[in-house]
């Protein structure tokens, strides 16, 4: 109190208080950053890098320019009107010979085979005998494999020499580049992806709707029952939540299959004939039932956490002001639970479009998701570029949904528990 306002405040050792405060704040900021840095590092390595790598793989197209460098150079300026001249053929023979010696033509032939079936054996067969080829290569290569006499092959090589490609994305939506460079639809008998995308989205929407319809009353009970009872109920919700996904999925197989518990029961009760057992698994029904059950807790918990915060006196007030039960519910209670519905909805929807084990086990042919196709391209067809493109499209869709959701509801209103 005795200090005059002109002299600045100082600490005991004479440093101005402002400076000292700034130092202290900076120190604690650095500390805080150091504390979270392992987490940041982990996120970077385990989350950001794989996504960047995935996006990169979905457009990367280095094969042709890496493994056929001379051919690509020789084709520069070629107009694509008729077969290229001898130098291009000679360059190809040279590239194939180098590749055969280094044994690295595999990726190249896979890449070209995606665009034109038959290129894999054209390259591997030609490469095997390339040492014995004699000039003029224009004749000897065409003799070695008919593909080299086709204009399409050369146009393809010229086109795929670019370092980036959109053809994986086009393939992911059942389109492809024609040799004139136009985007065209693939023939009907090759269409698979678009249908699967739509199925994934609408079935996820159905599953989200079902979890809401089933979860809302349960969450309401949880929030309104006395603690003793609601705890018991909570355990019943959490117990399946803690059980392994595979166990829950296979349990549904045991219940729903044609020789399963439910069908047996129905036959015993005489509801259905033994020959006319219901087909409830290995189709869409199987996927929807199993996934609704598995994802139900993700709807109940956010709903519960929101409902718990709504004072019961609101409903009483609404009723005492003359509102009928349904009207009071619709006008007072329901609007207050919307953040919970939104949180549960977006959570269940995003989780379910990424689900893959459950549809693979219980979905059969008609209940498969696009995610099962990603797994197929990762493990079996080994077309990792296409797998990356499909996965990236799913990622974009999720981001778009999230942005729409944020615009409509606002992420800050969401409560997850």
């Amino acid at each position: 109190m005795s200090e005059s306002p002109a002299s600045p405040l100082t600490t005991a050792d004479g440093v101005p208080l402002k400076v000292s405060l700034r130092r202290a704040v900076r120190r604690s900021k650095v500390k805080a950053f150091l504390l979270v840095s392992p987490l940041l590092l982990f996120l970077g390595v385990a989350f950001v890098m794989p996504i960047v790598e995935m996006l990169w793989r979905s457009v990367e197209n280095a094969e042709v320019s890496t493994y056929l460098p001379r051919t690509v150079e020789a084709l520069e300026g070629w107009d694509g009107g008729s077969l290229p001249e001898e130098p291009a053929f000679a360059a190809l023979a040279e590239d194939l010979r180098t590749g055969q010696e280094a044994r690295n033509l595999g990726l190249l032939s896979s890449r070209l085979n995606y665009e034109k079936s038959g290129m894999r054996s054209a390259i591997s067969r030609t490469a095997r005998g390339v040492r014995n080829l004699e000039p003029p290569f224009r004749e000897s290569l065409v003799e070695a494999h008919r593909a080299w006499g086709e204009l399409d092959t050369w146009r393809l090589i010229q086109r795929e020499a670019r370092p980036y490609t959109i053809s994986y994305y086009l393939a992911a939506v059942d389109r492809r580049l024609s040799l004139d460079g136009e985007i065209v639809k693939v023939p009907d008998h090759l269409e698979v992806h678009v249908g699967l995308f739509w199925r994934t989205f609408w079935m996820s929407a159905v599953i989200t709707g079902l979890t809401l319809v089933l979860g809302y009353p349960i969450a309401f009970l949880l929030a309104s029952l006395p603690l003793r009872h609601s705890n018991l109920l909570m355990i019943l919700v959490l117990l399946p939540f803690w059980t392994s996904l595979l166990v829950r999925t296979t349990t549904w197989i045991a219940i729903l299959q044609s020789q399963g518990v439910l069908n047996d029961l129905m036959v015993t009760l005489g509801v259905i004939a033994d020959e006319a057992r219901w087909q409830m698994i290995h189709n869409k029904t199987g996927t929807i039932v199993a996934m609704t059950h598995i994802l139900l807790p993700f709807m109940i918990l956010p709903l519960y956490s929101v409902m718990k915060t709504i004072p019961p006196s609101y409903m009483r007030a609404a009723r005492s002001l003359g509102g009928k039960p349904f009207l009071s519910f619709r006008r007072v209670y329901f609007p207050l639970t919307v953040p919970g519905i939104a949180a549960g909805g977006i959570l269940v929807f995003i989780l379910s479009i990424g689900y893959y084990i459950t549809p693979a086990l219980v979905g059969g042919q008609s209940g498969r998701f696009i995610t099962n196709y990603i797994a197929y391209h990762m493990q079996t067809s080994l077309n990792w570029g296409l797998a990356a493109a499909i996965a990236s499209i799913l990622l974009f869709v999720v981001i778009v949904f999230y942005m729409v959701f944020n615009r409509l509801i606002g992420v800050d209103k969401v409560k997850l528990g």
Partner: protein, 373 residues
């Protein structure tokens, strides 16, 4: 306080170092005890069991090596690729199909093999290059067995005087009603559809390279599509047949044989138009020195003949074929159950690996689209 924390941290660090050092010493010790550990990738099930008995157990007894079985052959190519990209190849020897081996070899994932240098001669001195059957020795591949894709049926589901016998019967719903279980892939199904439709087996692959041929095969498959249950795991077809869920099932012949002799199931194999192919070993890059001796041992005449005591796959060496005797457990004669037995082999079709290397992607996509229709 701070000082104490640091001290504690140092102690903890020391402990960790000690633990790591201890663990590596222990690892070294176990390695010295058992000469080395070989990670061998194969198909699992009855097939891995036959390898275990015919190759692995005698080898472990002889050398003290330890052999770890990894059932990953179904995804062997993907596994080799990702291990090589990650720069950490943990597999030492891989059992895979020649079509996959061809791709892996072109990508430089597996070692080229000099067969006459690396493999044992036949007992009479014939070099390996002459002793192995046609196509058994690829640039990077050495076959151990000949196996076959066949269609089998449950004899109890047809009257005794009207048992199916040809591949055309499988597509004949009128005379041979019942569900069919087929592999959920275009491979084999397209070939069988064309042969059942009257195409000569020599012309099957040439036809499948044309749009009309493919359409004809799918049209033929359309005639039975409603009666087909699609399987994906090798263990499914014998199960479906045993439960009488299906009348016919396409399968690997060894699995059906196993169910017939070990479980006494009333199955019969339609050998007509069997699609046979080879299966064998490849060596991931950099592992040749480690597995050289084992590979020499496991592909010699005696070992291949031994394996045929446990499973009905034909040995890939001529010199072993003569030594095929009886089933180890039941004592039945193995010869009539081999794909290569002359009466079984009469109308056999060899799977064209080049064709499937080229067209598998496209035809699988088309097959999936067809299934979804």
């Amino acid at each position: 306080m701070k000082h104490d924390d640091k001290q504690a941290g140092k102690v903890a660090l020391k402990r960790v170092t000690c633990a790591v050092a201890g663990a590596s010493v222990m690892a070294l010790a176990t390695m010295a005890q058992a000469q080395q550990t070989l990670n061998i990738v194969s198909w699992g099930g009855a097939y891995s069991m036959s390898q275990q008995k015919a190759y692995h157990e005698p080898w472990m007894e002889k050398t003290g090596d330890e052999i770890v079985n990894i059932d990953q052959s179904g995804n062997a190519l993907a596994g080799l690729r990702s291990q090589s990209q990650a720069g950490n190849v943990t597999w030492d020897l891989v059992d895979m199909l020649p079509a996959d081996a061809m791709i892996a070899c072109d990508e430089g994932l597996i070692e080229p093999l000099d067969h006459d240098e690396l493999l044992a001669d036949a007992p009479d001195g014939t070099p390996p290059s002459e002793d192995f059957v046609d196509g058994a020795l690829g640039d990077c591949f050495v076959a151990s067995i000949v196996y076959s894709n066949i269609v089998a049926f449950n004899t109890e589901m047809f009257p005794e005087d009207k048992q199916p016998s040809t591949i055309a019967d499988v597509f004949d719903l009128e005379n041979y009603p019942g569900k069919r279980a087929l592999l959920r892939k275009p491979i084999n199904n397209l070939e069988w559809a064309l042969i059942a439709d009257g195409v000569d087996s020599d012309e099957v692959y040439a036809m499948l390279e044309t749009e009309e041929g493919i359409q004809r095969a799918f049209d033929k498959l359309d005639t039975i599509k409603d009666e087909v249950i699609w399987w994906e795991e090798g263990a499914q077809p014998p199960q479906l047949l045993a439960d009488q869920e299906v009348a016919f099932a396409s399968a690997y012949n060894g699995r059906i044989f196993d169910a017939m002799v070990s479980e006494d199931q009333p199955f019969e194999i339609i050998w007509d138009a069997q699609v046979f192919e080879l299966d064998g070993w490849v060596v991931p890059v950099g592992k040749l020195d480690k597995v050289k001796d084992y590979l020499y041992f496991a592909t010699d005449t005696q070992r291949l003949a031994d394996q045929a005591q446990y499973i009905s796959y034909g040995p890939a060496r001529y010199s072993s074929s003569d030594m095929v005797s009886v089933h180890a457990e039941t004592g039945i004669d193995m010869m009539p159950h081999m794909p290569t037995f002359p009466p079984n082999f009469a109308t056999a079709l060899q799977k064209d690996d080049y064709f499937w290397a080229d067209y598998n992607d496209e035809l699988t996509q088309r097959f999936d689209a067809w299934l979804a229709q």
